[in-house]
Amino acid sequence: MGCFNLILLESSGMTIVTTVYSFLYQFGDSFAYLALSALGLAVIFGMMGVINLAHGEFAMCGAYVTILTAKAGLPLPLAMMTGSLAAAGAGAILEFLIVRHLYNRLFDSIVATWAVSLITQQTMLIFAGPSIEGLSTPFHSFELGIYSFSTYRALLPFFAIAVLAALYLLFFRTNYGIYARATIQNAQMAKCLGLRTSRIYSFTFALGAGLAGLAGALYAPTITAVPTMGSSFIVPAFVTVVTGGANVLLGVLPAAGILGLIQSSLTAVLGQLAGQIGLLLTVILMIRLLPMGVGNLFNRR
């Protein structure tokens, strides 16, 4: 009898561990996707006040370059770096040609970047074809109880946190960070003090585009490479940035955390549709209750 109890206890203990881990895994998965999708958009919107509707296309650029270079023989981490850099390069070019002329013209910049998004998608469809063969997800899977998990996806949330930490260091521990924050606070004054604000703007836009490219690169092995793939990043990105507010670090981290929790629990209990509805409802509530975003709660006034 005692032995039986022990087995029961052990198996139920195992089930609890499995259930808790599977919930953490789903939460981390959701969090990583929201945070990585949103970072590029948050940098560009938060630092420069530009709503970049071509965000998804930078992610697509990152994914395509990653896939093509990885197929050409580059090791996957290097291919992903190349993908992010390519997106950053594309961002710098776009900033120079179009966005630069539209600072302080919010609506014009929305329309212009939307046009860039449509033109890019259609050009890719015409010249690169409707799809390219993808990559396999790196690493294997591991098992826990009745479930098996993808190792790569289990690591992505940690990677998302690492990227956030790197951004923190960039903005608070480097000269560029100080210049950039000065420029945001008061561009006129920064200029008077001798900062080349236009160069800071270019670099920041390229940084945002590069982060979008990084999201595309990291998820390239897990989704379909098609010209319209950017649309799978744009909704989570906007949802997270609207919830988090303009503050890059203090916004994205808690917003992705809260939204990830809501989405993964709703999806677990009621299915994918409920998860999607939950995300959008949260955003509506946030706009009503905290119009400046979660990030604003942490601002010292």
Partner: protein
């Protein structure tokens, strides 16, 4: 005054000429297909197949001595564009027949417009079945052809516990209802059913739900580029279950786009795919590749679109007119067939659907395809048995197993 008189004389001269030109005028075939947007990947081969069929027919003297003129609009994977452009084809272009449509949502968006204008419309695509509409002719395969073959075969081979994941709109919902019906009829159990919004590309939770339910195989009815991410994600998580589908592989060639073994052990029942190795298929592929050498894949829907044009040709020739009522009556009189890529196929006069050769395609570990079984001449039996008889009685509805025609 002089000017007006000259104009009047001019008109008097021109009018009879334009009438005589009109007699030899081309037959206007309107095409509504998504050349851009989410569905373009699966639709572009359909457009090319339609163009190929028209080119071949025109090269051989057209239909009743008249060439076919193609008027194609890009519907951009957008249902409102479908409605707008369907009206334009009917009202401005005054076409003789309309072809096309990929997603069931887009077909349902334009069907009322076709019905209101009594416009002859060929839906040249696989779908969830049940459309019993006097103005609509369907050349794609339907669940009674694809699931009544596939599901019992899979249940026999792998077991009777089934889990369905389906796109959350009319196609996925009704297809899932068919799976449910056929599983039950064959003594199996549905251990799970999940409907996925088209905007979803992350399947972590779905994969765990499946593992928890322990099915013997999974029916995947996933639509669009975003949802196809499921296959790589389930492989990465080592789900390792056989899969069945009516649409995967045959429409968007996932087995060519994903690295093996993402689609390992996928079983599909298309009415045609490029891998079919028969004289009719090889001949079709040769002609297709001669015109479009860079086509990534010659899909099931390419064959359906190609056959549709020839079915229309046969019907017009039988009717000896492009008058829409006459063409409809010609098909409802029976015996309208064509020899296409899948062999001989015929229109069913009662339901306006087509018979098909159904191939059981098995995706192997390396993503090559084998055909463990072929069913010849599978009829679209359900609508007729349920009481849809368009030759005798006009109708404009879509029926499902739980909502059959009222007798």
């Amino acid at each position: 005054m002089k000017k007006i008189r000259r104009l009047a004389i001019g008109c008097a001269v021109i009018l009879p000429i334009s009438f005589s030109v009109m007699a030899a005028d081309p037959i206007k075939l309107g095409l509504l297909e998504d050349q851009s947007g989410n569905f373009s990947l699966a639709v572009i081969p359909k457009i090319h197949a339609t163009e190929l069929a028209i080119e071949e027919i025109n090269a051989k003297g057209g239909v009743l001595g008249r060439p076919i003129k193609l008027i194609h609009y890009d519907t951009q994977s957008d249902n409102t564009k479908f409605q707008e452009l369907a009206r334009r084809l009917i009202q401005t272009d005054k076409v003789d027949v309309i072809f096309g449509g990929f997603s069931s949502a887009s077909r349902e968006a334009i069907r009322p417009i076709m019905d209101k204008a009594k416009q002859l419309y060929f839906y040249n695509n696989q779908y969830e079945g049940g459309v019993c509409d006097s103005n609509v002719f369907v050349t794609g395969a339907v669940p009674e052809q694809q699931f009544s073959t596939l599901v019992p075969w899979l249940m026999e081979k792998y077991g009777k516990r089934v889990y369905t994941i389906a796109a959350d709109y009319n196609f996925g919902q009704i297809s899932a209802e068919w799976v449910r019906k056929i599983v039950k009829e064959n003594g199996g159990t549905m251990v799970g059913e999940e409907f996925i919004p088209l905007s979803v590309s992350q399947f972590g939770q779905t994969i765990q739900n499946i593992q928890k339910a322990k099915p013997d195989f999974v029916m995947t009815l996933l639509v669009g580029n975003l949802q196809s991410a499921f296959f790589e994600q389930q492989a990465a998580a080592n789900l390792n279950l056989p899969m069945g589908s009516s649409i995967q592989v045959g429409q968007a060639y996932e087995h060519k786009r994903f690295k093996p073994p993402a689609l390992k052990n996928m079983y599909v029942t298309p009415n045609y795919i490029e891998e079919v190795d028969s004289p009719a298929s090889n001949d079709f592929k040769k002609r297709f590749r001669a015109k479009y050498p860079d086509e990534p894949y010659i899909s099931q829907e390419a064959a359906n679109a190609y056959d549709a044009v020839y079915i229309y040709k046969a019907a017009v020739e039988k009717a000896k007119s492009t008058n829409m009522t006459a063409v409809r009556k010609a098909i409802e009189g029976g015996g309208i067939c064509t020899n296409g890529p899948q062999g001989k196929v015929c229109m069913d006069p009662k339901s306006h659907h087509m018979s098909h050769t159904i191939y059981l395609a098995h995706v192997k570990d390396d993503h090559s395809i084998e055909f463990p079984k072929v069913w010849n001449d599978i009829k679209p039996y359900w609508l007729g048995e349920a009481g849809c008889n368009l030759a005798a009685k006009a109708d404009y509805s879509q029926y499902t197993p739980t909502n059959p025609p009222k007798k």
